[in-house]
Symmetry: C2
């Protein structure tokens, strides 16, 4: 919950920003629509030229906005990776903080295209229940959210009368985020001097929806693996051998069932030791979010909620680590019956992590668990898919978060509550490589249908995003200088 009275944006400034945005709204939508016509799908090699065109379009727009430095950086050591757009505009005053804005200009594929009710790359505006909607792939994820940064900066400059932003502003707009960002961490490492900053602002997330003004403050981490158990070297007749040799499927069931205790807690040794405690304030703020469990269950297509004892549904998916089984297989799985003791059993298992759990520590604890529980006669192989993804969490008392909250509160005339994402992204690694705290500023909605047919953005929310940006650089400059 922000304290609106700390804002450096007075009412006159606010009114002027709003007038500016209102005056430029049509042009904003028209220009964004032009960008949305470019099908910048990096996953499809046939679209790589379009991704380059998209980078070029953005570069031109940034130059028109006034950025003195605009460069296209191709990811990958041979320079044939996706084009990221880098832009930089130093502050007009010395001692100003440096901000790096992260977003992406590539978009998800559109198949199956027949499920769209409009042409995904022929954007148009239609009325919606929450104001005009801009229809088109990328409208919400993420071109719309990148483009309001340009409008927000223009409003800031026009209204303040300054010729440079109040912070040293850098933008890095990636070109292959929807393909898992190949080569991007390496690009960050290589260019980390040019990307040096005091705070990172990611505009690639959303709000809670239902008219509640929120800022995201965390993502869960992830590490996942496959377990392969081997028992007898041949399938055995269960009449002749059943009950007298270890059955790998029975062992697998014990291993998987033993991962949770009766209260839904994960049993790996030391698993909870490094978790940053949930503060009473964090908990109280989550509890203030309007939550309709039956609507949530309908979205999940599940008949019940369940999980760790002592936590609400939102807490279970946001602030608590979890362990899920994604697949199991082994033995006879065809029609009818075949009474064997099978040779093998397999499972895929993941752990979602919260700050400050380390994926590699969890991997080690899981290996120890398997080693201790697998009986004689069964061999176990555990293969983790990579080193995992670290969780990321912004403390509520972080000054940069408070600046984000004040900007949102001013833009939305509302108090700001806090959400988290249950999923996992590269934020922790970006923050770690660039040695800077990372904030989320996003105005997408859960109903925007990102990654799905009929993606759209709510135009008034994009404009609120621009408004928050118009305030944020002043709020950040003020918070850094105090």
């Amino acid at each position: 919950m922000s304290a609106p009275d700390e804002t450096v944006i007075d009412d006159a400034r606010r009114d002027a920003v709003r007038a500016y945005l209102e005056a430029h709204a049509s042009e904003f939508v028209a220009q964004l629509s032009e960008w949305l016509r470019i099908p910048s799908i990096w996953t499809d090699p046939a679209r790589h030229d379009d991704v380059q065109r998209s980078a070029q379009w953005l570069s031109d727009a940034l130059r028109s906005t006034g950025f003195p430095t605009v460069e296209v950086w191709n990811a990958g050591s041979d320079g044939t990776g996706a084009p990221a757009v880098f832009a930089e505009w130093p502050a007009g005053v010395s001692g100003a903080p440096t901000v790096l804005v992260y977003g992406h200009h590539d978009v998800q594929p559109v198949d199956p295209e027949e499920l769209w009710s409009f042409a995904p790359f022929d954007p148009m505006v239609v009325p919606g229940p929450d104001g005009d909607r801009l229809l088109g792939r990328g409208a919400s994820d993420d071109k719309g959210q990148v483009f309001y940064h340009l409008l927000g900066l223009q409003a800031n400059l026009a209204v303040s009368g300054r010729s440079s932003p109040p912070v040293n502003l850098k933008l890095l707009i990636e070109g292959a985020e929807e393909s898992g960002s190949p080569g991007f961490p390496e690009l960050l490492l290589e260019r980390k001097d040019r990307l040096a900053c005091d705070v990172i602002v990611v505009s690639d997330t959303g709000m809670y929806g239902g008219g509640t003004t929120t800022a995201c403050v965390g993502m869960r981490g992830l590490t996942d693996c496959q377990i392969d158990l081997h028992g007898p070297d041949v399938d055995l007749h269960s009449g002749s051998f059943g009950g007298a040799v270890p059955n790998p499927l029975t062992v697998l069931a014990h291993l998987l069932a033993g991962l949770h205790d009766d209260e839904g807690r994960i049993t790996l040794k030391g698993f909870y030791d490094s978790i940053r405690p949930l503060t009473d304030r964090e908990r109280a703020l989550i509890a203030r979010l309007p939550f309709d469990e039956s609507a949530w269950l309908a979205t999940a297509a599940s008949r019940a909620a369940s999980g760790e004892v002592g936590y609400s549904t939102l807490e279970r998916v946001w602030v608590r680590p979890t362990c899920e089984i994604h697949g199991v297989w082994g033995g006879y799985t065809g029609p009818g019956h075949k009474t064997i003791v099978p040779t093998d059993a397999h499972a895929k298992v993941s752990f979602r992590l919260v700050a400050d759990q380390e994926p590699l520590d969890v991997q080690a604890a899981f290996r120890d668990y398997i080693k201790a529980k697998v009986p004689d006669g069964i061999t176990a192989d555990v293969h983790f898919f990579g080193e995992g993804v670290r969780p990321y969490l912004v403390p509520l008392d972080d000054p940069a978060l408070q600046a984000v909250s004040r900007s949102l509160a001013r833009a939305f005339d509302d108090e700001v509550l806090y959400t988290r994402e249950g999923g996992s992204g590269p934020e922790a690694d970006i923050a770690r490589i660039l040695h800077a705290p990372l904030m989320f500023l996003g105005v997408g909605l859960p109903t925007d249908r990102i990654h799905a047919p009929d993606e759209h953005a709510v135009v008034p929310l994009l404009l609120k995003g621009a408004e928050a940006v118009a305030y944020l650089w002043d709020e950040l400059a003020a918070s850094q200088s105090t």
Copy 2:
């Protein structure tokens, strides 16, 4: 362990039987070889004529032996099922017990035929480590074991000088045992008046091997099922929903892991209540069988033995009920990873049962277990494959078993120990339909390669089978009349 001094076969009779068998051994092998040339594979519709020819061949052989009644009964209500051969020869004295011998004249398929080192239907005799071997499909399972009944009876009659057997002798030799006996229970029910008997003798099993003389006294029962669990109606993103809705794979792991306690005992309510206690004598006799665990493990291709605490390996597979998982599947099972909470989870599970557990009681207990353990939000469907197979057990003090043991002890000049089969067969139902105790008299060896390429029988053992038969009718007549 039999008491050899109770036998009614004196040494003179024994010597005469052995002389008879020695004199007729070549003819026995020659005739059996003729029968083995008929590829009576009921599973292959193209071989149905051969199965009819096999029935005809046996009928002729039974008539030549002297059976006054020989009939072919086709199974199935329309008479197009496999031909069983029925033969009957009343005792020469009134008040004699009635014995029904069961065996089968159909054989297993021979594919892959390229793995045979000889032609499966071109039988021949070759020297082996345990005496001459008769090579050919059906030599051990089960034509060889049926045919020694004819030779044994001829020896009994020739040596005793009687013109009829000392018991009312009936034979029922089935034609589709290797196909799961379709229509056979119905045939038993329809003809149960003609099949009425005081004791049933099944010659379709083997001995322990390694030179130990044994009689089988039991088979385990079986009931098996498929469990289908359904959770969310769509695969869910484990970041957004993981940890807050029940995961059917986690529930499945708990259900399957909970079937055994820490001592390897099955946890279903009342599961052990109806088990006939293992007597000290039964246990001591099993312990006397030579058992080489490392050799057993090599056969199992398993690296360890394990199972219910307090029982030996042989006890675990013979005298204790077990529960095995035969297959599990659900969720994502392809390469790499896909972090979902899946919609469904499946498993195939069986229970092997021992006397006097009832398959339908176990099915009910399992359904109760599933119902009690499945949490809200998961639906469970349990489908049992049929009504299951009842276990069968012969008490060691059964007079008919003692007669079988005395016959074997006399034939092998050895004490008789007792084995069981861990697998499951129709014996309990045959005994139940015909209201008579059922005994096993078999001389197959574990090394006979039944159901596999290179099936063979050990000729001296087939002759020992004939010798035991030559004594058994007198032993049974004597035991029934006392």
